[in-house]
Amino acid sequence: MAGLQDIRRRIRSVKNTQQVTKAMKMISAVKLRKSQERLVSLRPYAGKMRDVAKSVVGRIKGHVAAEQLNLGPEARLFLDPREEKRIRVVLVASDKGLCGGFNANVMKAANAFLDTRAKEAVVLDVVGKRAVDYARKKGFKVHKEYLGIPLTGLERVSREVSDDAAKQYQTGEIDALYVIFNEFHSAMSQDPQVVRIFPMDLDAPAVDAKSETAHLLEPDPNTTLEALLPRFVETELLRALLESSASEHGARMAAMDKASNNAGEMIGKLTLTMNKIRQASITNQIIEIVSGANA
């Protein structure tokens, strides 16, 4: 049987761990709030942007041939999907671990999606150290690594990637841009998403009753689309990054909460064992004294 001393030591060690997990939980809660604020304020903008872009693009496709509108290369970006020989995928994970199934989930989604493609046909942009490790292990070609990006730096990342990807699309280096990330629902629930940003998915166009007729694009379709579409890509990427950031902190908060609870439970069990042992030794001593007195 383990000695009293050993059990005391273990209790102390578990208590220390519990303090660490509690502190981490609190830090995550603060970070979660910041990310979530940013995400919640971007969502209406991103949603409107998507509606507008989809309805404009959907209508152009439905009503007139792109040739007739005399569109430039930028604007064409979204209009003619071509065979996806090479794709660029932005994989968003976290820099640090201890966040439950956060990274595992996004990797699983990445696996399911990327396994259907040839290795040579995929170029990855990786955000977060865990994503870098994943790409290395799987042997994917990595275009760019983004490590230790703070919340305020996400905007720059999304701009950089969208500019670069647009250029690559025009030179024919890539045929599509995807993003894989954890979508944030609440601190307890996130789910991984694979989204094609361009060419735009028009299978389910956001048609509402409000925009039944085609928009006039002023001053001319080319100028308007060339201004709108890059902003759309940027916004979508930024949203993915923010969703992932909020998800990460939410997942870590939940994981650390669970860890703290488990530690509490363990302390309870150990204390019980400790008390039993102590009581046993007291009982022993009493028996000894009593039998000694009887003799």
Partner: protein
Amino acid sequence: MPEPIQLEVVTPQRRVFSAWVSEVSFPSEHRGYYGILPGHTPVMTPLGNGLIYYTQDGQRHWLTVFGGFAEVGPDHVTILARDSETVDMIDPTQAEADRVRALKLLKEAQTEHDLADAKAALDVSLVRIQASGHPGGHGY
């Protein structure tokens, strides 16, 4: 009678404004001010810097807008602004200080890039000053 146009102004940072109004006008990037009344034909256009005017309960109000897009339908105007502020968010003394500083930068500008930056800063400060004072008759 309820107002006929739903005006919504959103930026990447926040939802600035959302309400029903009777009349809207906004500055486009290429074609000056657009005046929107109910039943307007659907239009989509990039925005310049300036003021968005709207009429609510017969009163005229305004917001600043710096770039972005406007999407117009028969019963709604959606502004996807790069940035936008309500009047109470503007500090007039700060805007004036910004204007003076921008003018100074404009004179000292060496490169094309500096010049463009100074011009943009001046533009922003002028719009803010206009918004915090009594705006002129743009669009009306």
